[in-house]
Symmetry: C2
DNA sequence: CGTTAGTTTGACGGCACTCAAAAGTTGTGG
DNA sequence: CCACAACTTTTGAGTGCCGTCAAACTAACG
């Protein structure tokens, strides 16, 4: 985290850019030498904010780059033959998009901006070349893939809609926490419809679950803004407890 | 236990072992030099067959090795707080187990033998060291992770139980095809209960779906042995068509 | 042959889907 | 600033798929 600020010698402009970047050392190995960091920065292109609706890539596009999200929100999704949208994942600040195309160098998903997003584009050719020269880099990419992989599994473990939504809220909260001053309070960057397609429910079901959670004063939602009022109780629900059988906060 | 003799005199034997291995070049880069191949083999330990029920590792175990499946079947799963089993994936010959622990070097899942399995154990330390020396190796590991990742997504796209099962049968068929002489005919190495936990249905639902598919003469099942009789029709169902609305084979 | 584990089949109930309509929100142009 | 359109969210009523419970049946193993 603080590594980017610890030294101002070397490559000031680049370090500065990364110090401000919301990735804050997550994307790149903290152990990188100054020279290495410079080389990484030299190939990264900062762009955005891109407006909602923009596609970063689509299914079958060749794998040209990884995208690091600095701000906003990206969703990756597929369409089945009936035209139903299956949301594979949401990508929030500090996360990478594009892994899906590592093999066989062609994207399996579509990636679309949900909320105006700033990105770093990391050209595949360059990163492949660099990772051969910088040992820690490929390990880091592997780690990031592994992290996303594990996180996704967690979200699918719920049995009913209420549990799934509770898990989802905690997951997004944890991922957005660094963006906000307050804990357990954040803006949901995606619509109910997207959440529904992600959790494999209908938008109506998501709405009903949220209504019930609000009525029980476990959460409060105004527009996109979410507050988790009763962390303990939502935690129980996320672990499979029945909403009706949990008692109000002490 | 297979021999782990690491003497260089046995290099041809190693090549031979890999030639016979059901992985058939999938696990290791085809472009490896002879010397590289030798070094890879020198660190791989062939074991098995391990009996059903054996655990390769459990949640929170440190990441010590990757396991390449040569024969049999492994399932990776977690248990939630209520004790329900969530099957994350099945691992068939030619596939690797253990990726889940790349970061943070600790397993997120349990891995258990479902059907007596022969394995190659690839110690993590060695593979990490080697992958720094052999450029293609880490890329290959990345590719294998990516492949498994993409495959898993596919299986979750079904909307109802019938579609899910159809997709699952095609998936397993494709993965086991090399093991059998005949196309569209194979042995299911896992129980209905495991399939149910994987697809997030109850065992009874799996049974009912299979019954209906047999009654419609789309598949035939005797014990573990599965035949896909009407590939086209099962294909339609896998794409979301309604079983009742598909007509029998021409 | 008896025990155990897995599978099949039925009855019933509940959660979530569909359809539908109303209410709220956002963005645009007058 | 307001009016209107397009979209999202909410809420309700009815239906259906799948889960649960239960019992009968079938291999598999000692």
């Amino acid at each position: 985290m603080g590594a980017a600020e610890s030294s101002m010698a070397g490559v000031p402009a680049f370090r500065h850019a990364c110090g401000l970047c919301s990735l804050q050392g997550w994307c790149w190995p903290p152990g990188l030498q100054d020279g290495d960091l410079c080389r990484v920065h030299a190939i990264v292109q900062h762009i955005g904010p891109l407006p909602a609706g923009t596609h970063l890539f689509r299914v079958d596009d060749p794998f040209t780059a990884l995208y690091a999200v600095r701000g906003g929100c990206i969703k990756s999704y597929t369409l089945d033959l009936q035209g139903h949208e299956h949301v594979r994942d949401f990508h929030l600040p500090g996360e990478l998009v594009g892994f899906d195309a590592v093999y066989p160098e062609r994207h399996h998903f579509n990636a679309q901006v949900l909320k105006a997003a700033s990105l770093c584009i990391i050209p595949y050719r360059d990163i492949a070349r660099l990772s051969r020269q910088i040992p820690g880099l490929q390990t880091r990419i592997l780690a990031l893939m592994s992290r996303d992989f594990a996180r996704q599994q967690k979200c699918a473990e719920g049995l009913d809609a209420t549990q799934q939504v509770a898990i989802f809220l905690f997951d997004v909260e944890a991922r957005l926490r660094r963006e906000y001053e307050v804990e357990y309070e954040f803006d949901l960057p995606m619509s109910h419809e997207s959440i529904a397609n992600y959790l494999r429910f209908s938008p109506e079901t998501i709405s009903r679950v949220i209504s019930r959670l609000q009525q029980a004063e476990i959460i409060r939602i105004d527009r996109e803004h979410v507050q988790i009022l009763d962390v303990a109780r939502l935690g129980l629900i996320a672990q499979g407890a029945d909403l009706k059988k949990t008692s109000a906060r002490a």
